[in-house]
Symmetry: C2
Subunit: 277 residues, 2 copies
């Protein structure tokens, strides 16, 4: 039997995403667990996953998970909603370490905060189509009213930093219009880019609606899992050591990542998680 007691407690936590969005998750976890070390992998050569097929997303995700396993991570965070939707069952089946995925984490927090069990999910088209959010919420809360809306332009608008642009405001209004008559009490942001539009979403839906963002939800879940598997909490080295790998240009990622994280990053290395590395 190989139990968690054989895992190095100071081993890093692995996080992967299709690109840069998962850094919001890394930031939230690092803030909540400052003594831990992290390895982040952004599959920037194959980003975005949102419109790719189920089998392609699964293959890429397994390659990314394997890449991080190979670097000796003690816990794996699937920080990409699309990857989590299509691969988390297989990743949990294949690998022995604890797995946290943004979907499970977001769902857990939405269930905790909803006041009238009327929840809307906002996500990419692939995530909405996968129905994982809807199914997870329905299983946990069978009487709940659940609806889901895909907002495919939110990611490019965020990446172009048009966070306050009139065009962004118009598209937020248009995407959210179907929610107006539904008395939603909780909106679950099912994409790591969407928290950057939370202010516009809140404005459009009114202050009465609770917005759940997956990054902070994920941080809570990681903390909980490390407490449950208490043998794998890092013993507290104040010189936390974070490593960053990407499958495309490290320099471009580094610049974007420093804006996302508000940290200086020493180095970003290039690595191909694909089968031919």
């Amino acid at each position: 039997m190989n139990g968690p007691q054989q895992i190095d407690t100071n081993a890093p936590i692995g996080i992967f995403d299709s690109g840069i969005g998962g850094l919001t998750v890394l930031k939230a976890i690092a803030h909540s667990l400052p003594q831990e070390n992290f390895i982040y992998f952004g599959d920037t050569a194959r980003v975005p996953y949102g419109d790719k097929s189920q089998s392609t997303i699964l293959r890429y995700s397994l390659e990314n998970a394997m890449f991080l396993m190979d670097l000796g991570v003690k816990l794996l965070v699937i920080a990409c909603n699309t990857a989590a939707a299509y691969s988390s069952a297989k990743v949990r089946q294949f690998f022995k370490i604890p797995i946290v995925d943004v979907i499970e984490a977001g769902v857990a927090q939405a269930l905790q905060v909803t006041t009238h069990q009327r929840i809307a999910i906002l996500a990419t088209r692939a995530t909405v189509r996968s129905e994982v959010y809807q199914q997870a919420l329905r299983v946990a809360m069978p009487g709940a009213f659940i609806t889901a809306i895909s907002c495919p332009l939110f990611v490019p608008l965020v990446e172009e930093q048009l966070l306050g642009h009139e065009a962004t405001r118009l598209l937020v209004k248009e995407y959210l219009a179907p929610l107006k008559e539904l008395n939603i009490d909780t909106v679950l942001l099912g994409c790591t880019h969407y928290p950057l539009l939370a202010h516009l979403i809140q404005e459009e839906l009114g202050q009465g609606v609770i917005i759940v963002d997956s990054a902070t939800a994920c941080a809570k879940q990681v903390k909980l899992l490390l407490q449950q598997h208490c043998s794998i909490v890092a013993t507290g080295n104040s010189n936390s050591n974070h490593r960053f790998y990407v499958s495309d240009d490290p320099y471009k990622f580094q610049q974007q990542a420093e804006r996302f994280l508000d940290w200086k990053i020493a180095t970003v290395e290039r690595a191909d998680s694909g089968v031919h590395h």
Copy 2:
């Protein structure tokens, strides 16, 4: 010596793009040369190329070219502006068959139609940054005034079919604002998706501006090259045979492609142009 005379005149013309946009090029060429056969490869598992690094774009493009060479094409069309920007020199250096790329074709037509040598290029960020359009125009017409504007949201807006949306109109206005005082006479659309926004661009810049689209420019170039290498013009089989390959889900591509082309497509096959196929 292996000359073009050894090539099967009824061999197909190969066209590749990062995804679906190159179908505008295929449609224009097929319309102009109805007796030819085509093989289209859309690298849908790795789309989009626009924000990837130079070395990654080059590697993907060479893999795509090799995939089509291996299927026996007699002429190769690089229908993706980003791929053409970073790979056409290497593709021309490596392969023996005639090569047409959207950039060379668009530049040739812009030079032909410009009335006052004041030309603006609209393209993705990677294409603008590559400076290939600007350099090619400056070399051919040293006295010309050349400017280039990247419009990164045009591709997602077109793919979401928001062609008449107010948000699209606002973003067209914003992207084109720097052109207002420049007395541009010709706008060269350096991305295969942009022709679908030509009506809004024309409206914004006024009827006096000539819009050059790369798909029809490419068709002219292919026709010219086949006439020059007259031994490789197909002898005219009215049952033209077109084949479609993609690196991701064939079904989704087929549905989109039929809308793009306004044809019924018999089959789309899945193929991986990458090194591990």
